[in-house]
């Protein structure tokens, strides 16, 4: 007789606590609906005007959507380019880092580019993906985790790089062995029926590739020492459990492919700024460049904005204003925002990401069976990314460092010091690295002109998460000022640092305005 739904839930409740019931309840519910992107159905603009501050993706999407509805839109962008934190560096690109201006010297080839800002699109970021489709932005698969890539830590096996697959296979093996032992030696199998316990043990065995006696003796999953095709494969030596535990990668490597950076990830073919270009094909004529906003005055009947362009102070007035300028720069403008709004603006802290890249004279990683993916280093450069673009061509562009959480360590260095640091770190993974790479570019987001930060930091600590105070400030910034000025961008979301959040924030603002306009007495 099949187990009833209730019995099944009871079983889970016994083993997993009440939380498991809630989640399983949802899983057993109706079949999942198709994934739906956020869409807008805006009323006709009827000649209404909007001024959009900042040509980040949220600003451009706002110009695009309002334009479709017949609004008169103007985008003011301080920089020489739109896209903000969507920034692809290729031949000739100006990297406008304050105090460290660079022009990229990569070869002028379509596959020779570096996404210095946004680089990955998770398959669940539907709004972004549907814009890519609508705007004709070609996508390709991005490879984040590639188990053939290297793991390097001075504390592990004397600093010898190890294939990710070796490390993780052995780690899973030993952990599985522990779990299998624990099941036998304690009453851990108590809450389960014999059949369930058998399934669980089977799962543990296959998870760790254990022998029949539940001992880990190495695995072909880690690759062959020799043979494998025409001759019998020879297993690689096991790395001792103790050794595996010498590196903090023990705590991170098994989850780099989970959650939002888990498969499937995509990227825009030819560089992430193809997304910006897609929007600009639609609204490019609405954008005013090198137009730096200096003042925002919210009035009862509209918004007055002053900006500097070509050495002159200019004015523009519009019925509504959408603003994706980073909060920490908005605080430096002349404005008439209410005090609680200013407090909320100041509450948000700025992130510190840092990235660097090299042109490689030859695709040396492909000689090591590596096609795309990330090598992890336990040093300050942290990561090496191998390109998906241009497989088997002569040259390629590799990411030489990516510090997402910190970044100031390299940002504070001179260009020469940064480059030397990445060469010294990288040559621990790739012999002759120093001679194989050239034409470095580095991007300290904390110093990028008109950005001065990476992504908004709302949380004061990871443990604390979103407190009531945080959420109050967040709702304050999400709401319009006097019904006329909307702050947008991923900074006005609970998940900053994603293009999807920037788009959803813009959609929220446009929907809110649309609802208010529809409800307003004629």
């Amino acid at each position: 007789m099949p187990v009833s739904r209730r019995e099944f839930l009871n079983l889970l409740a016994a083993a997993g606590g009440a939380g498991a019931v809630v989640k399983a309840g949802a899983a057993l519910g109706i079949m999942p609906a198709d994934a739906a992107a956020s869409t807008l159905d805006l009323a006709a603009g009827n000649g209404r005007s909007a001024v959009i501050l900042g040509g980040g993706i949220s600003g451009l999407a706002t110009a695009y959507e309002l334009g479709k509805a017949g609004w008169d839109c103007t985008v003011l962008e301080a920089s020489h380019r739109c896209g903000g934190r969507i920034f692809t560096v290729r031949h000739g690109t100006l990297i406008d880092e304050l105090g460290n201006r660079q022009y990229c010297e990569f070869d002028d080839e379509p596959h020779m580019y570096f996404n210095a800002g946004a680089a990955r699109i998770p398959n669940t970021h539907r709004t972004l993906l549907s814009y890519c489709k609508e705007l004709g932005v070609e996508l390709e698969i991005f490879i984040n985790e590639n188990k053939t890539c290297w793991v390097q830590d001075d504390a592990l096996l004397g600093g010898k790089p190890v294939r990710n697959i070796e490390y993780t296979t052995h780690m899973r093996g030993f952990v599985a062995e522990l779990m299998a032992k624990a099941m036998h030696e304690s009453d851990m199998d108590e809450p389960f029926t014999e059949a369930e316990a058998e399934t669980l043990l089977g799962m543990i065995r296959s998870f760790g590739d254990l022998s029949e006696d539940n001992v880990y003796r190495g695995s072909f999953n880690a690759g062959f020492a020799s043979g494998g095709f025409l001759n019998e494969g020879v297993q690689k030596d096991i790395i001792a459990f103790r050794d595996l535990l010498k590196t903090p990668f023990a705590m991170t490597l098994l989850r780099t492919n989970e959650g939002e950076t888990g498969p499937i990830l995509l990227q825009a073919r030819g560089g992430m700024d193809r997304i910006t270009e897609g929007f600009l094909r639609q609204v490019g004529d609405r954008v005013s460049y090198r137009a730096m906003v200096a003042s925002i005055q919210v009035r009862d009947d509209g918004v007055e904005v002053a900006y500097d362009q070509d050495g002159a102070r200019r004015q523009i007035r519009a019925d509504y204003c959408f603003n994706c300028i980073p909060t920490h720069l908005v605080t430096g403008l002349d404005h008439n925002f209410p005090a609680h709004y200013v407090r909320a603006l100041k509450f948000v802290l700025r992130g510190e990401a840092y990235k660097a890249a090299f042109q490689a004279k030859e695709r040396f990683w492909e000689k090591q069976d590596i096609y795309g993916g990330i090598s992890w280093m336990n040093n300050r450069s942290q990561q090496i990314w191998y390109p998906v673009a241009g497989i088997h061509q002569q040259k390629g562009v590799i990411l030489a460092a990516y510090d997402y959480g910190g970044g100031m360590y390299h940002t504070r260095m001179t260009q020469q010091e940064r480059v030397e640091a990445h060469l010294a770190d990288g040559e621990k993974v790739h012999r002759d690295y120093r001679n194989l790479v050239e034409k470095p570019v580095t991007v300290g987001w904390h110093r990028m002109n008109h950005m001065l930060g990476c992504s908004a930091r709302w949380r004061r600590s990871f443990r604390e998460g979103w407190t009531g105070e945080t959420e109050d400030h967040y709702r304050t910034l999400q709401a319009p000022v006097n019904g006329r000025h909307y702050l947008i961008g991923d900074q006005v979301s609970m998940r900053s640092a994603w293009m999807e959040s920037a788009l959803l924030s813009a959609h929220w603002a446009m929907n809110d305005l649309d609802r208010r306009l529809r409800n307003a007495p004629a």
Binding site: H80, G92, L94, G99, D308, Q315, L329, G332, D334, K346
Partner: protein, 201 residues
């Protein structure tokens, strides 16, 4: 329309050797220091509008020459230093003229403290900075009234901790280091800054 001071060296420039290159804009002070140099707490960059030309000159030169902004714990100074490193005497003069075109707007007060206690603490400071914190060029002491209070707090802390004013060529900084030793702890710092705030009310 208000004409901004025209700055020949600091406006949109292009490299003669690579004419096709994207021109860059060297007039980036306001990215950090806010519109018209009003100061920006969001990135901890102080008000420049209304700053005395001689003081601005001295500080830009100090930054450029590595006299200020090189101690790793001087977080904001370390951010400023590379901006100044590329300046020439001429471009410093241009910046001073540009900044001179901005209207003085007293900074918003963000710090509260015991103003009466602050008045007493301020007495030694008044010798150089003036009874109304209006500054004194002859003594090389800048005006404090109207400056961002959070900036003054940071600088006092920096002097006390030896993050600023330790370079052998920083004569005025060394004086400030001595003077700040009269302030004991965060309360004193807040009180004296609260008093300086009260002078620009």
């Amino acid at each position: 329309m208000i004409r901004l001071a025209f700055i020949c060296l600091l406006c949109v420039a292009s490299l003669a050797s690579a004419a096709e290159r994207e021109p860059f804009d060297d007039r980036y002070c306001t990215t950090c220091h806010g519109a018209d140099g009003r100061g920006n707490e969001g990135v901890q960059a102080p008000r420049l509008a209304g700053m005395e030309p001689w003081y601005l000159k001295r500080q830009l030169e100090n930054y450029r020459d590595g006299i200020r902004g090189t101690h790793p714990d001087d977080i904001e100074g370390v951010a400023m230093q590379p901006m100044a490193a590329m300046l020439t005497d001429e471009s410093i003069q241009d910046i001073i003229e540009w900044v001179g075109g901005w209207n003085y707007v007293p900074a918003e007060h963000t710090i509260s403290g015991d103003i009466d206690a602050g008045r007493t603490l301020y007495q030694p400071c008044a010798t150089c900075h003036g009874a109304d914190a209006e500054g004194n060029e002859a003594l090389g002491a800048p005006a404090l009234a109207g400056q961002n209070d959070w900036y003054m707090v940071t600088q006092i802390r920096n002097f006390l901790a030896g993050y600023r004013g330790v370079h052998p060529q920083d004569v005025y900084g060394a004086q400030m280091r001595v003077m700040t030793t009269g302030l004991n702890g965060e309360n004193d710092i807040n009180n004296v800054v609260a008093y300086i705030n009260s002078l620009s009310d």
